[in-house]
């Protein structure tokens, strides 16, 4: 082999890098409408799953990804479990809507998205999702044969490491065999929102769209602008620019939901935060409600959760907005709700 000097080596490396960059940018643009942004774009995912039948009241748009198969006869559309053990509540509620096997197939790559918005307080303050609930979900997914289960959020107050630790979620997930993931900037990319009217595209964490299963585990709490932060509001944790969502919030959250389409939503209402949300810090604002709500329909789950606060679905702007877009139903009279005492 003939020797090359340093200068020649560097020249070849630069050419190689340029070539790779050109090739990769070409690949990234393949098959997607080119959006004039610096960030790479994710092509809209074509799905092979048959169109799932949402309740007749809704007109489904493009097939969402990760939609579970329609509930089998006998399964509830939405389950509400009440009792003292958060783990038992999660298990009972999911069993009632068809069992974890309905959502998690063997070998699936699962993301669980709790609400870990701040690093300020422990779980008793009801600002972050109950760690037992998250741990129970991790265990269920692994039990169903999931290849890996990752848990993540992007806190707005404090560092992710500190928030994961103080919320108790990190320990619970580790004990159950899952892994905490810190959401790195490199993994955000701009994706088009086909159903978007106000938002045509959004910079979003890729894995939230690419994972086989996306389980949304919000805690139900008070919020100054949205009235309540529930399942759909929890999806703000997977996008890059949260402040932008505060303008025309109801519609924008609904459009974000149309892109993410969680496989399953589990609302943690073991404790709920009645005031001074989303950050909390007063035990006086916390109400022990010992409830878990589960449904494949995020709109229905959120709609039911409003009743815990003495509100109706129309009080929380993103719920009617999402129902209008056909992302789910907020009319719970037309679906089968199963209430379970555990």
């Amino acid at each position: 082999m003939n020797e090359i000097d340093r200068r020649e080596f560097i020249r070849r490396m630069i050419l190689l890098a340029l070539g790779a960059t050109a090739a990769s940018s070409g690949l990234a643009r393949c098959g997607s409408p080119s959006v004039p942004t610096a960030a790479p774009t994710i092509p809209p995912l074509a799905t092979a799953t048959p169109m799932s039948t949402l309740p007749a009241a809704t007109a489904a748009g493009p097939t969402p990804t990760g939609q579970p198969p329609a509930p089998a006869t006998g399964d509830a559309y939405l389950a509400v479990a009440r009792g003292d053990s958060p783990t038992a509540l999660v298990q009972a509620a999911i069993r009632a809507i068809g069992g974890i096997e309905r959502f998690v197939k063997p070998g699936a790559d699962v993301i669980i998205k709790p609400n870990i918005c701040v690093a300020y307080h422990g779980p008793e303050y009801a600002a972050t999702t109950n760690p037992e609930v998250v741990g129970a979900l991790v265990a269920l997914c692994l039990g169903a044969g999931a290849r890996r289960v990752r848990v993540m959020d992007n806190p707005f107050g404090g560092s992710p490491e500190a928030a994961y630790a103080r919320s108790g979620v990190a320990d619970a997930v580790k004990a159950a065999g899952g892994q905490m993931e810190i959401m790195s900037e490199m993994k955000y990319a701009t994706a088009p929102i086909p159903q978007g009217k106000d938002l045509k595209q959004i910079r979003i964490y890729r894995d939230a769209l690419d994972a086989d299963v996306f389980i949304n585990v919000p805690i139900a709490k008070d919020h100054g602008l949205a009235r309540l932060t529930l399942g759909m509001k929890n999806l703000l944790g997977v996008i890059w620019d949260r402040p932008a969502m505060h303008r025309n919030m109801g519609q924008r959250i609904a459009e974000l939901t149309s892109l993410v389409r969680p496989t399953l939503t589990v609302v943690d209402a073991v404790r709920i935060l009645m005031a001074n949300g989303p950050t909390g810090g007063n035990l006086a604002d916390v109400k022990q409600t010992n409830t878990i709500i589960a449904s494949a329909d995020i709109v229905a789950a959120d709609a039911y959760a409003t009743s815990l606060f003495g509100l109706t679905p129309t009080d929380v702007s993103y719920i009617p907005a999402a129902a209008k877009m056909g992302l789910g139903t907020m009319d719970l009279a037309g679906v089968r709700v199963e209430e379970i005492g555990v």
């Binding site: 990769s24 690949l27 560092s159 790195s184 100054g224 602008l225 505060h246 989303p278 810090g281 007063n282």
Partner: protein
Amino acid sequence: MTAKTWRRARQAVQILAAVLFVYLLLGTRQGLPTFLPHDLFFRLDPLVGVAAMLAGRRWIAALALGLATLALAVLAGRAWCGWLCPLGAALDWTRPRLSREGDPRGNWRSAKHGLLLVILFAALLGNLTLLVLDPLTILFRTMAAAVLPAVNALLTAAESALYAIGPLQRPLEWVDRVLRGAGLVGGEPAFQQGVVLALVFAGVLALNAVRPRFWCRYLCPLGALLGLVSKVSFLRHHADADACVACGKCARACPTGTVDPARGYAADPSECTLCLDCAAVCPTNAVAFRWHLVPAGWREYDPSRRQALLSLGVAVAGVGLLRAAPAARRDHPRLIRPPGARENGLLDKCIRCGECMKVCPTSGLQPSLDVAGLEGLWTPVLVPRLGYCDYSCHSCGQACPTGAIPPLSLDDKRRAVIGVAYIDENRCIPWADGADCIVCEEMCPVPDKAIQLDVQTVARPDGTVAEVRRPRVIRERCIGCGICEYKCPLNGEAAIRVYAP
């Protein structure tokens, strides 16, 4: 052991000390390391210790370790500089191979003594500004506020560019986990004057080209202090006149240029760093390091009474001028100090080391340029638009080596008022445009929310009438953490701003 083996040992110790410095630097973050004190090098720095205790008029137990460094100087001269100083290591490793011999004309070596004396006299008068020139504060500050943020930014850029390439995603995720887990914080640390700090550091390195270890010979105040102690050191360079063949190799090899052919190849113990390069190159093994009991002689560049008086004059004049500056008369409205530091009198305790800026998870603590006046150059101030004071963190007080930022418990820190927020109603979206935006209220970490929302029916600029939630600050609840200002969605200046209390 031969001289060459000893030199190898010195190089190994230098590498280990530098690795330890970097390890502690990276470990300086929320949840400080437990294996060794994260500020070990500052504790070992007697200049920092003496100056901080003089200026603060108090004994600082944590800095007593500087006595060990002084004891080392009594034992073996400036061995610290040749064996342990991480800045010295950086200078050795960036030294050009060919550089000019001998000193420039004039007593340049006395400059460092002047600097040392001015620092000590100013410290007596309660001023620590010139500690920005302590070698360890230079190195740590540069790494924390310039080099690491730059590395982090380059890493993020490279990751984001390469992540589009499918096969690279897995390895990149691993690299990201390992590197950021190892102390590169997430988020994007960004520091005002990072470029200036980097240039100062680059200048110190570049002076190597004028003379090897230019900084250590002529400028370093810590080197000057250790050098003065080294006058009475026991272990010293000795050139054996019988074995010496006057080839001059040792004088050419000496990085601090203190081996003097005109004086029989003798070295001044207060300039010699015991690096053993001279011994390693001597063809006849004429160079040895032996025990001495007689103090070394005073040299023409060593401090004189005149220099001491001049330094005292400079210190008095400088401190007088600083005390007559506007910053001493009235605080800048944006002088937001770390929690507890204002009440604690930060100025006469802060050594400008940058530990607090490194540990701050939001990089909200910034090196001050003008907000604290010239006297407070590079002391920490919170710049809320760049980062907020995290309600879950009290790391700066834990990290501060001198107690300039008091080590408050997390509960006390959460109650410490560092500033007060005011809303600019001319720019705030609900006030000026009649549109909803509650980001500041949402973000407020105080349990009872220092920002309240009032529902009001208002006329918008376009004439329509709407119901809007308008934020209002309840000042007695506000702690000034600045997360409202940081997160305010307006471009440029925020519509809610934190001012000094």
